[in-house]
Symmetry: C2
Subunit: 261 residues, 2 copies
């Protein structure tokens, strides 16, 4: 699909370094768009940018940003203000395991910044541009933890619910003008996900049930412009339906909580 013709010259991936961010960047480059890669690890982003530019014959721009910092977004806007923007995707997220009140307040502030404040600033900013030019697309990433709620990872799940519900609503508001999607992911084989998996048979089972970032991105781009809220993966869709229709909210939270106990 020629995304460049449909949406514009440049797309921005906020949290592009690896996993789903990287797969999303590759997907829009494959569609002919130049990529703005944003994240903390500048060197890795430059490597990825070079790789993408060579493979898909598009330009790339790297912006170093720490989404947990108050003014991270302003610098990003400044650096993309002269580009013909047509796509944005917010992938960045931050979590911290433990009971809510046992996690230092500083971490809660950081999680709010990464998962909500910087997200909202970026979504608001680029939606303003895309709406004015009547073309563009947005894919924001949520998680199954935002469906069930996520004991011992409460802040993360709640922020993911915020992202999903905000994006779903805006997707409806902007239908026929800007293609917006809330993509809800289950287990996805990314470097940070792998770090949290147990070893042995249990770990193997978890990996066998998880999706690759490439499969996630494929499904999303097949549905972009058609579906506004997508739970990615048949197994994940079945789980959501089961939690919503066979369990109470208390039972669903318990199911998720038992993973971390």
């Amino acid at each position: 699909m020629n995304l460049k013709e449909k949406y514009g010259e440049w797309g921005i991936i906020l949290g592009a370094t690896e996993g789903v961010g990287k797969a999303t960047a590759e997907k829009i480059a494959q569609g002919g768009m130049n990529v703005v890669l944003v994240g903390r690890r500048e060197e890795k982003l430059h490597e990825l940018g070079k790789e993408i530019s060579e493979k898909y014959n598009v330009e790339h721009l790297v912006i170093r940003a720490d989404f947990s910092e108050e003014n991270a977004a302003d610098e990003i806007f400044e650096k993309t203000k002269d580009l013909d923007m047509g796509f944005m995707s917010y992938v960045a997220c931050l979590h911290r395991f433990g009971k809510l009140q046992d996690t230092e307040w500083e971490w809660h502030q950081k999680m709010l910044n990464v998962n909500i404040n910087t997200f909202l600033k970026c979504f608001y900013h680029y939606m303003g541009i895309f709406t004015k030019q009547k073309r563009g697309a947005v894919v924001n990433y949520s998680s199954l933890t935002g469906v069930t709620s996520s004991p011992y990872n409460a802040q993360y799940g709640a922020c993911k619910a915020y992202i999903a519900k905000l994006t779903e609503a805006v997707a409806y508001e902007s239908r026929g003008c800007v293609d917006v999607m809330a993509a809800t992911l289950g287990s996805t084989i990314t470097p940070s996900w792998l770090q949290n998996q147990p070893g042995g048979e249990e770990g193997k089972k978890a990996i066998a049930a998880a999706m690759t970032p490439e499969a996630v991105a494929d499904e999303i781009f097949e549905n972009l412009g058609k579906v506004r809220s997508l739970v990615v993966g048949e197994r994940n869709r079945k789980n959501v339906h089961h939690w919503h229709c066979d369990l109470t909210a208390d039972e669903a939270a318990e199911y998720m909580g038992k993973f971390y106990e």
Copy 2:
């Protein structure tokens, strides 16, 4: 029910002036607890406090606070630090109708402050106290708009989803120690809700289908300590089940969006 014996001397209602906040304050006063009433309209809070003190023979304390201000919570904590606290309820909320990118950024910042930042600070603070003393209860208020997402009221719905999912998770984490409930409300006959209703037959129908704040509070306190996530009202529970099990997320958002179009 003797709430004072079970939870402690004092309860705090954040957003107590009217509607559900007022009904919650009356409920804990009826259970023997002294009430800390927090809100912007000091005079109305003093009136309510006097009324409650006379009716239920309990003490009251009024704290003036604007939850949209950065440091609103700190002052509240300072003023309650010497009280034996045993209950908190976050009722305050702020909304603004319109498309996300058409609402001035200043309003988004205010909504984030009222609906998320100040909420989280308060929940975190009092959960710390209640957990340490191994007694206490929390009721945080969410809304059906956080279930479906809420086009043209996107920020509000997303924040309400955040409150629900954070509270559900923490309720599981603290089960058997602190009684925490996420209460999800549908249409409730409060002064601010009435302002947004249409006139004529349609308005009458809406009012007939809505619950009173007193009925809401009754159902919540009957279930506090037993249910952690409660959709209040049989009609509302049926709607949630219908949206989750018979509609896609896109259809549910469309259903909600059509109200505001």
